[in-house]
Symmetry: D2
């Protein structure tokens, strides 16, 4: 089953942008956006989901191999190994070095609210060029999430609904299909939840090998922009996709990445890219539940537009 992407005009997109826009909702200088939906009660409730004590990484291994979807591979080198004797005595140390330009399709990372501008404006209407200069952002950087994000994660596994291994590049998931998935799994997205959205992107990569998922390449499967209305109504706090949520090519005239635009610039949502759920789905099936506690702990990087991270689901 291939979802036909309904094309959207620029004007329709701007109307949608207005509808889901949270500018000013939590004050003019808010830096937490939809994380404001997560109350202490939500955190407590999320903790009650810890029953079997199992935990699962939602991160890809850091990838140092260039490829069609990894034009900026991480670099990782040993700094010192055990051929080096210390002149002050035992012990000896092995050390390493990691460098990464982490945005893109191959590194599991979270975006800061300063990462995306639509028509020159960031979340809350801030002028993009005023916030981000050559020394990095002066506000809405990734340290806004420094103390972690803890909440209820809800997996919506679209290939499971479809009875497919994965969605094909270019396919778009609608609001209706999200709701059908909720029903099939017996879960319902609610206020302050963390949506874990699976298209099977990484499963496809494991089986078919890497492909270029950008414009000019094969593209990727993601959400249809109108699905964002559901996330807005339900007051979803954060978004963790395999792929990055985007359908490429997009369904919107003149907007190459409408999902990031709506989530980050309009809604102020904590959004991440390029996770993998191949371990998660096994645990969900074994546990027969699609809700769990999620803990997100981005590196505490002043002026970061995002961060490599390793989100953890706890059952």
């Amino acid at each position: 089953m291939k979802t036909l992407p309904a094309p959207m005009s620029a004007r329709e997109f701007d109307e949608l942008f207005q509808k889901v826009r949270n500018w000013g909702r939590w004050g003019p200088d808010d830096e937490r956006g939809t994380l404001n939906y997560i109350t202490p009660a939500h955190v407590r409730a999320a903790a009650t989901l810890v029953r079997s004590g199992r935990s699962v990484s939602l991160s890809l291994p850091i990838n140092t191999v260039a490829g069609p979807d990894n034009p900026r591979p991480a670099v990782h080198y040993m700094v010192q190994t055990y051929d080096v004797k210390s002149d002050i005595g035992e012990p000896q140390f092995a050390l390493d070095y990691l460098a990464s330009e982490f945005h893109g399709d191959c590194h599991t990372h979270i975006d800061a609210l300063c990462h995306i501008a639509y028509k020159g404006k960031l979340y809350n209407g801030k002028l993009a060029t005023s916030v981000v200069g050559s020394q990095g952002p002066t506000s809405m950087d990734i340290t806004a999430y420094a103390h972690g994000i803890i909440g209820r994660g809800v997996l919506l596994d679209i290939p499971r609904l479809r009875g497919a291994k994965w969605l094909e590049p270019g396919e778009a998931v609608t609001r209706e299909e999200l709701e059908a998935t909720e029903k099939a799994q017996g879960v319902r997205l609610g206020e302050g939840d963390i949506l874990v959205f699976r298209t099977g992107h990484h499963r496809r990569r494991l089986e078919l090998g890497p492909w270029s998922c950008e414009y000019g390449g094969e593209g990727k499967a993601g959400l249809h922009p109108t699905a964002m209305l559901l996330l807005h109504e339900r007051k979803v706090a954060a978004f963790l996709p395999d792929g990055d949520g985007e359908t490429v090519p997009s369904n919107v005239e003149g907007v190459a990445y409408p999902i990031h635009t709506l989530q980050i610039a309009a809604m102020g949502m904590a959004a991440a890219d390029s996770l993998q759920f191949e371990e998660l789905v096994k645990v969900c099936e074994e546990e027969r539940r699609w809700e769990f506690m999620v803990v997100i702990a981005p590196l505490r990087l002043p002026r970061g537009t995002g961060s490599l991270f390793n989100p953890i689901a706890v059952f």
Copy 2:
């Protein structure tokens, strides 16, 4: 009050090493070490500590400024800012780059079990040079912790016990002082716990500025090696210090870093370095409790000897 460090001979240290050694305890190829102490029941119990829903970072901000304790500053650059228009339409993106040699005294990081060798041997008796080559470790790398570490954190705040702002460089905390701190705070370290050990290192840095805490410099405050017996008996699973747990100069003849040696090489303990608890202590005082859930999510870095990370305490 200055604890007089009781010097320890090389022979005494080797006896201590034998006493706390967990080699073979969980099989010859175990890569989880003392994390084996954390059972599902411990994880569940840790989750029940989530009551107020507050969370606190235990990480320093990533530090790009060279200094006496930061000879290898992280580098962080903008890759792209909002002067770049996309030729495929909206939105625009701000991107950055981070590189780090993360071991050392200024970057909050966790160590993998391959990071330390004593007399040529790693945890479980593995030959250090066989495990770690120029392409990095072939086992006991940081991906052994990929699925996160979740447990009960117990803060032992030594300056609080002493009525001091911080411990001075060179001071060593004994087993007896740890036990006195437990009593004063009404907590008791138990099996599978994560010891959060505070010397006030970062408080001192905030007030007095950075100093060289290595050999040849002023040194640092930490544990006395015999204190490791307590951690061993109590079956502590992980260790999160400000500073790095070491007293510099050390109290052991010929062993410059005895704490890392015992924790990592002998015990197989998940050990971290260079955290900060200045935000944590405020919350502990407000909550009037020194136990909380801790979530540790190292980057999923194959062949890493460790990882930058942002440990989170949840109350």
Copy 3:
């Protein structure tokens, strides 16, 4: 005309290795190898070739774009631009950052003598594992060339001889063809000369786009191993190729890169990789000469196995 590569057995290769081997020729601890052929008289003579005063780079632009022949792209970021005002007054500065793993097929670089081991031995018979540890080489690093290499460059332009734009991947140039090229161009390689060897590699890349020139890919054009006898007899001091001199796949059983092996490990030759001569050939044709002064100035990098560089031809 396609040169049929005559296959060479492992035994034949070892005999060739012995024949061209300069181990001990300039003493057991020599680090200059065939640069010893360049006498002050040769430098003086090279300087007399400067007549028109034109100079030409033999370097590729530094390449930050990943591709089939560039799996480890250089990274280049702005550190600061003119949005940053100094608080100590004028002027303002723009700054940048460059990082590179420079060996490979896309970065113009020179190799140090420690870069290649054959059967565990470096040039002069040094044990490879004794010279190069995790902290880099303790001798024969690129600083052996710190004071520059100045000599007579002689271009041998094989595609010109063949009347082709370039050699195809897999084609091997024999000693006979080098001699035919000398004759056609009216030049003769002599003692202390710098051989500038053109296969048209970069011309092919400009016209056809990048390809994988390694094993498992399309390969590359280069020298036949026996051609090294000519370089040895003529006492050539240095080697500057487009491509890297290697024919891939190689003509030698069990030796993937025989040219590097002979040049660096056996002969101690200053050898470079991945230059481009597209600007050079135009000047040569205009000047009607294929000899010129060459200046090689590697970065002064202690413990470097090589260096990015920009070799200059002066006419």
Copy 4:
């Protein structure tokens, strides 16, 4: 003897800026600035200075150690050593990685013309913010010097004139002292020459250790701004100093780095920083001459604001 720095008002500095300004002199889009002074005849003449065939590096070794004058140390790691066997046969390779933010007081580098803006303008009056964006400069980058700079180098050794080992931080060299040095050494700076300007900065560092040579530190010795009139009148093409030519603190009200401002923004001069002449002065004394051929070969880095380099003097 300490040269008393004559303070200069902002107005006087602007008059000086006008006097030495070469904007428009070689056309509105010129990117070579004072290199236009170097004619083919100058290159030929420089080559005739090659008589003994000796060559000398004017570069510091690349410095990976943080210190008061090296807040951004280069990083250098081994990528692979001889523990790695190839699965396609001999030979084996040792590889490394170098990363550097090369501007500053400890890395020998050359500046591109886009590196400095005075009152928002670059050389030739270009608007700084228009030329340099987050993706680097669109003109006047270091590739303007891609084909190398070859000319006559003239060493003016100020400590030699003064009978001192070095100049002390804060001391400024006047036009008169440059002329006295010319006389003492029997040389005269002329059109198209490369001025090699020695304050003994690196000699001082070798003997006394590193110091902070920036504002807030001890400062450095350099030129007095009025000395730039001599360079302008004599049509000097390029400037190679130990230190960076600047006196810190500067002699100009409101202008922290007047020498760079005049050289680069006003004159369009090829200017470099942080060379060392300790090897050069020995050769000059032995050869009894202070003129030689200089070859400058910056890395061919598109959009670079400068480059690490290894300038070579040939006698």
